[in-house]
Symmetry: C2
Subunit: 282 residues, 2 copies
Amino acid sequence: MIEASDAVRGRPVGVFDSGVGGLTVLHELLVRLPHEDYVYLADSARLPYGDRSPEQVAAFALEVAEELLARQIKLLVVACNTATAAAMPVLRERMVRTTPGVEVLGVVAPAAVQAVAATRRGRVGVLGTPATIATGAYAAAIAAIDPFVAVTSVSCGDLAGRIEAGTIDEPLVAEVRAHCAPLRAAGVDAVILGCTHYPLVRPIIQRMLGPDTAIVTSGAPLARQVEHVLGARGLDSRAEGEGRYGFLCTGEPDAFCRRGTRFLQLPLGAVERVALGAAVAA
Amino acid sequence: MIEASDAVRGRPVGVFDSGVGGLTVLHELLVRLPHEDYVYLADSARLPYGDRSPEQVAAFALEVAEELLARQIKLLVVACNTATAAAMPVLRERMVRTTPGVEVLGVVAPAAVQAVAATRRGRVGVLGTPATIATGAYAAAIAAIDPFVAVTSVSCGDLAGRIEAGTIDEPLVAEVRAHCAPLRAAGVDAVILGCTHYPLVRPIIQRMLGPDTAIVTSGAPLARQVEHVLGARGLDSRAEGEGRYGFLCTGEPDAFCRRGTRFLQLPLGAVERVALGAAVAA
């Protein structure tokens, strides 16, 4: 059995997003792998990433990775669909070259596996931001796992922004209903929430799609893959009790705290401000 | 929503194996998709396929496919690990060229998806015949789905032959224990039974591996993928009640019947003898 040293096993898992959405992924990690330590970096001075070019997102992601690697993480989690689509190859290449023991995981592939495992009728839906749907990343990941699964993708405009604004009202319900209509028409029985903000309106989505539709979020499948990497390499923490978690933020810490608790569903505590490359100048 | 005509939907699913092992796959299909009709072809005059060259197995598989296609199947299921490993590309090419509406599915990929979805620690075991393990097909399929999952494969000698002989005794238990030892040492928490005979000793294997190890057989994941193909293409039967199933056999029908019931766990009924290409001469 492969085993790492105690010192390496005790290192934190690094989690990265442009803002608060990735906290729904951290939430799953905290619940499913409670013995681990985590450090979360929000590049909030430069959000939203969705409006940036893929090249710019990749450059930002590399700066974030350097900051987290300097804090001795044992694994890097990209808890952001836009960054996963734009930066994964460049991050993998960086890791293999300089810190080969540290893997980088993204949100797309693990969710695709769970959706394929969940669908019975072979019809999967994907809800995502325009940037994520435009990459076709989910459809490609599903086709690679099971080419016989039909995928219906829906670009959900600024639903993420609306969710972050925080008002749950009838116009929001109407918008979710409209996004779900093509999925109902296609007869899907499993739906991937391809944006880390969407789990906050999961009850609305479930109501629109019906109780027999399996909903797959980014967090749980990614937590499962984190468990795979740590387990397969003997990197899992053997500490007793709950691990620690802390936050870094390139923007205003108070705003991050204010918006973040609803996404994490756990207390945030202190947030440390960090300056990354062009972040201060941007 | 994609829909086929009533006439096409009412056609049977073709299932193919060299002998009785594939009946454990048909069993799952009969239980999980009971409204469908099935026709099963056992190429028992030429078994075991495990001793043949991949080229010969591919040639046999093409002859079987022609016989089943002549009987108007809507989907071809290769319920045999050896034939899946050796003949899948050639069968796919044949289908795309001549009968593009009829897909061909094999046992390896669906089981790999379910094992990746089931493992928590990221350590999967595979038990298979020497021929199947030698191809590395399962390890490759798992790596394609999740490269972070560690795979431990064990070649189980003639365990299939021993199971087919039918005696459940201490030497059999000792043999299963020996095959499971490397999986226990590797700390796997999900195990693929990569041979259609092995589900008959599943209780012995489960006892060796412990109740927390998920066991993935060929039948259930393949039945799920059959449901995907039929569902995604509107090819699923809308008939009420239970469908029909029938058997074709290139060897001696009585021997097939005698050995088959234990694998199918349902009555076999009549078996029709068919002659394929070189089958009579072989």
